[in-house]
Symmetry: C2
Subunit: 224 residues, 2 copies
DNA sequence: AAGAATCTGTTTGAAAAACAACGTGGAGGG
DNA sequence: CCCTCCACGTTGTTTTTCAAACAGATTCTT
């Protein structure tokens, strides 16, 4: 494990913990290492797991296959990121396969030991638990946010929802977004050109001004 | 608090704990009760909170207002359900207002004390933490599932995604869905009549058969 | 600085979805 | 048994999205 300690130390899960504390935690958690070759399956959809995984090296893919066999890649898991934690915690059946995209090293921890605290009642455990909950909470907020935009029917409404919420997050009517046009279109799940057209209309109507990634929402003065 | 103990006891957060254990936990958590009249605000969008709330009686609404003042109700919180837990855990600014829909009684617990364990290191704390994580994990899975359907561009694809995943969840090509047509349309955020038409096409193409809420996915035999 | 690649905004015809209005049949109540 | 209500499907119209292509602007490379 020592080989990838740098990854572990900088991971979201162990954030705020000292190296020596992390080392003692690892044994306390019964963390074990596993390796996979490209294309090997770590987990199968439909199965259950009690293990929280952390990618140490390489990249894992989350792949879903529908009833008719159409495959789609849900996301990639990079070093330092966790996978399958929601399934481990809830005990639900996996909704996707986890596959090694390349030579892969992971660390697995039993969710029971993460959540229950070790017999030593080590004080770092509370920190670890809080970290895990934070990760889940943040993912939750991200998903919720995205969902509120995507629930809108038209591209225009999705845009307004997204921009409005970005403005709120920035605490200002003027703000920058972390996407270029194509990425924004992908994020909102709309067509780029249609979105571009819609942005043009919004600008013409005086609801928004923008320049590259910098947007400013305008108070609707009064109707024409 | 005793007045609403039945609600607390059957809530998801305290699931699997004995009444006497719950009682000792409550003091251990520094749980406090609050009451609100209809229309009163419990929390404001943009603020922060370290408190996890649990509705004891009445109903709370999560309300979002966009930059131009358009209001929308995100959801209602019923007795026994938690609210704002993701914000309390992550420390992020609230993305919505929480308002009493009617006369409301809630219980608030400090997230630190929930996650950190009390000085007594009571053994039920691990259970509580696991329960809280389970709730978040399940919500996470729900959101992820819904998002994968909604990310599809067309009504047809949304339907296929939803049905496929329902089939997997049921472990069978035949299954029932918990929605009527209007509810399904709302869930997938599409027009009901258009969805109905699309269902008709899918049936005509032999991909799906259905009768009311009972659906069966069909192996695509061979192309015509 | 020239050239290549990328990003962005436009346009267009074709496809799809949304919308609105209506018809049907079944469930439940009087 | 009749009536009403509601879920569901159908149809025709309007609106939006999609896909492809193109040009101007910007950035990166050589």
């Amino acid at each position: 494990m020592e080989e990838y300690f740098a990854v572990i130390r900088t991971s979201r899960l162990f954030r705020g913990m000292e190296p020596e504390d992390i080392r003692s935690m690892l044994t306390c958690l019964g963390a074990r290492r596993a390796q996979y070759d490209k294309g090997e399956y770590l987990m199968r959809a439909g199965g259950k797991t009690r293990a929280v995984g952390l990618v140490l090296h390489g990249r894992a893919l989350l792949i879903r296959e529908d009833f008719w066999g159409n495959r789609s890649i849900l996301s990639g898991v990079e070093p330092g990121e966790m996978y399958a934690e929601s399934f481990a915690v809830s005990g639900a059946r996996l909704a996707f396969d986890v596959v090694a995209a390349e030579k892969l090293a992971v660390m697995q921890m039993d969710i029971e030991r993460v959540a229950r605290g070790c017999s030593l009642a080590c004080e770092f455990h509370a920190r670890l638990i809080m970290n895990l909950m934070e990760v889940m909470a943040e993912k939750n907020l991200q998903l919720t946010g995205k969902l509120t935009h995507m629930a809108r029917r038209t591209t225009r409404e999705k845009l307004l929802s997204y921009l409005s919420s970005s403005s709120r997050a920035a605490g200002s009517a003027a703000f920058e977004i972390p996407f270029d046009r194509q990425q924004l279109a992908d994020y909102l799940s709309v067509d780029r050109s249609a979105m571009s057209t819609e942005l043009g209309k919004l600008k013409a109507e005086g609801l928004v001004t923008f320049e590259k990634n910098r947007f400013t929402l305008m108070e609707k003065a009064h109707e024409a």
